[in-house]
Symmetry: C2
Subunit: 479 residues, 2 copies
């Protein structure tokens, strides 16, 4: 029988070429495949399982907060997309158009949804009539299409999977509260499940969503000190409701326009997980969403009792609720170690004849390489303890990366020096003028990531124009 062992090949190191390292990891960890359409990627089982775990966390939380899932059509008539002026300006340049159905040209072009505000509004106009019909707290899981020029796995797809929440309320206060509440759901996912510390804040008008009155964001810092916008939440006021003529009879018998929000988080976050935690051996996955939390590897499996002991451990760990698999293939232990390191499995459990004799096994942490000898009687409690430690360790390491690479500047020259030197996030004051925001970009190549909720007073004036400062902004180079 031919021994065609799959080689675990070397990947580019992070320090030598971070972009190539990323591409290597995405491929070697079997996350995506390229399809025949640029920017449309195949999500392979391991990536999809990761997404399913993220979905499960969010979907549960959405439902606990009273949201219901729905499904809107994938196609939007051009006339519907055109109804809200700012929205169509933002999205029309990057949509894909369906012009033929079967062999016949369509009377009106249909775009493949880039986002579904217009569809939700059309539906609300049909079903919202009275204050009794409000609020509607909806969410949908789907794919959207945006005709991007430059594409990269997870970070910039033409087609990507996401959830888009859409809610409609009787009062602006209720809608605003919803916008912030859902941003906090994203922050909780990022910090407590993905071990990614976030900066919560509001986008400047220049960076906000097309059609929104306000956009809120969670921003994360990647290993290379660039920013990833990881989830956004939008307050629309009654702009869409007016454009789509959504009206309800309020308790006071007056006809009014309701107030709306939307909020979305996409598979982009998987790119964030890779670039926050990964290392030169591949992926490092946060335990709470890892598709496999523990891999059991028998060593010298042909020796008496080893296979049976590995099977028993697998069963015990499964029964205890861990996501666990064992690899009993005829590949060498060395090959297996490298394979599951590449895939970022948080814990590896090795068991061989000598371990067995001692009534112990070995647990190896993916995050720091530490090996711990564990009594067989205690595998469940030790696995639980170590997975928790790994989560905390990953979060702490990412938090340090964020805090050590966040700088303060009071002049444009300082901003430029930091951007060109160490890189990272740069906090400055800002006058609120878009012209100054443009100058940061021109002078230092940075864009405003957000105006953090936690404002600090770093001075009285804008580093650009010298006028009175209104906000503290975090700047950075973004994915």
């Amino acid at each position: 029988m031919a021994q065609e062992k799959k080689q675990v090949e070397q990947i580019t190191s992070m320090e030598s070429d971070f972009a190539q390292w990323y591409t290597d990891v995405v491929k070697k960890a079997e996350l995506v495949d390229y399809s025949g359409v640029k920017g449309c990627f195949v999500l392979r089982p391991y990536a999809y399982a990761l997404w399913e775990n993220i979905q499960a966390v969010l979907d549960k939380k959405f439902k606990e907060l009273g949201h219901e899932n729905v499904y809107m059509p994938v196609l939007i008539p051009e006339s519907l997309l055109n109804k809200e002026k700012d929205h169509v300006e933002g999205f029309a340049p990057e949509v894909a158009w369906v012009t033929h159905g079967g062999s016949e040209p369509l009377q009106e072009r249909l775009c493949v949804r880039p986002t579904s505000e217009t569809l939700f509004c059309d539906h609300y106009a049909h079903v919202v009539h009275s204050w009794r019909d409000l609020p509607k707290l909806y969410n949908q899981w789907c794919s959207v299409l945006r005709w991007e020029k430059t594409t990269r796995p997870f970070l910039r797809h033409r087609e990507f999977l996401w959830q888009e929440g859409h809610t409609i309320h009787a009062t602006p206060e209720e809608a605003q509260a919803e916008t912030l509440r859902m941003l906090e759901v994203y922050a909780d996912l990022a910090e407590n499940y993905l071990a990614m510390p976030v900066i919560r804040g509001r986008k400047t008008d220049k960076e906000k969503f097309a059609g929104a009155e306000a956009t809120y964001t969670i921003e994360c810092m990647m290993h290379d000190r660039k920013a990833l916008q990881s989830g956004t939440s939008h307050y629309f006021g009654d702009g869409f409701a007016r454009a789509f003529e959504i009206l309800f009879t309020d308790k006071d018998n007056q006809l009014k326009n309701p107030f709306q929000t939307s909020w979305g988080l996409s598979t982009r976050i998987i790119g964030g997980i890779i670039m926050t935690h990964g290392d030169d051996s591949g992926l490092v996955l946060p335990p709470r969403i890892a598709p496999v939390q523990i891999v059991v590897i028998p060593v010298a499996a042909h020796k008496a009792g080893v296979s049976a002991a590995a099977d028993a451990l697998l069963s015990r760990l499964k029964a205890a609720g861990f996501r666990v698999k064992s690899d009993t293939s005829d590949q060498s232990p060395g090959w297996k170690f490298a394979e599951y390191e590449m895939k970022g499995v948080p814990l590896r459990l090795e068991i061989g004849p000598r371990d067995l004799e001692a009534g112990r096994c070995m647990m190896a942490r993916r995050d720091n390489g530490e090996k711990i000898s564990v009594a067989l009687d205690h595998v469940e409690t030790e696995a639980a303890r170590l997975l928790e430690e790994i989560h905390r360790g990953l979060f702490e390491k990412a938090r340090q990366n964020l805090s050590q690479n966040t700088f303060t500047a009071t002049t444009l020259e300082e901003v430029k020096a930091i951007a060109e030197g160490p890189g990272g996030f740069i906090k400055t004051m800002w006058c609120g003028d878009e012209a100054c925001e443009e100058k940061f970009k021109e002078a230092a190549g940075v864009t405003s990531r957000c105006m953090p909720f936690q404002q600090e007073n770093l001075g009285e004036t804008c580093p650009c124009c010298g006028k009175p400062a209104k906000h503290m902004v975090v700047w950075g180079v973004a994915y």
Copy 2:
């Protein structure tokens, strides 16, 4: 305060106009909304929750059987769709074409996937190289688009949600076994969760999937005695693998083409649930997939203790694992009764002052209207028992409809008389010739639903041509 009470309006009766009854139920039970694109329907929360419950049953089963979820792109280049001759002939006439991305025309047209065989094949060609890479047992949850001329909610959408399983194997035997195994998963879903008895069988060549060697089906009979094809499973042999040049090195070191299957079940099944179990008061949902299994309705809720008792029952039933809600709105009990009847909630639990005094409550079955007085101490066990009885009752009623409306014929005249008379399924022998199959359609308006796995010998000759019979076929008028 204005009392704008939503009216539960009358719906058309099933006997007077079954098609209109169906349309009324779909609307009044708040299952779908119409969008701006013909045949693309909004799935409202109640319909989507039903779909989620169906998904949960199937997804768990798929995973237990070793399948992994993936996600393939929504767009297929025309050249890729064209690779397998029979497949493209079947699907090209009904696909929607994307011709522009942003403001630019595309170099090659892209179709919105009508099904994803071609995408899976393209991916397999990238990742299947050795016998070690086989089998791949994949599934995806997504929407597909088929440019149908006539559309109806659930039964015929242009865009519909489904799952499509795609597997690839080293041997034809393994692939054939998978095809039948997955048909049985669908039959189990239909019978044991949806209370829909099925006929399992094989499609004739005329009715099989474009590109398949064999298509298997589960066929259900609706209340109006028409057939609904409710799930199909296809064996492809190595036809796709040859067309897409998928090759693997087998254990004997020879390069070979692998063997494939696909199988799908869609939101169409929701139309089947409606038309199998519904009645003149609206939906009747099978308890195992009903979004709400029990609705708790306090009667005279302002009387002392009633609200508190209703709340306590709600909590107890939730804790016991039932899907339960209560309606404490200011609508009248009569309005509420009609509303949850329309929505097909299997059990209604009423509690009022007199019940409370007696330490009892009333449970009303949606399926047969029976009312049962239940001691408060026993609500959980009684609810469980009644929900099981409702499931069995619904299945038995549907089974009787199927058996009482399945007829045997030995001449084309008899087939015609049955089709024009009572309607229903008609069993006959058949020579296997497509010309005769066509004659059944011309003479009696029926199509072959399947050649059931449980064959019976009804005679020696084909009712059409008199030649020796090869198969027993079930004929019917299909949705």
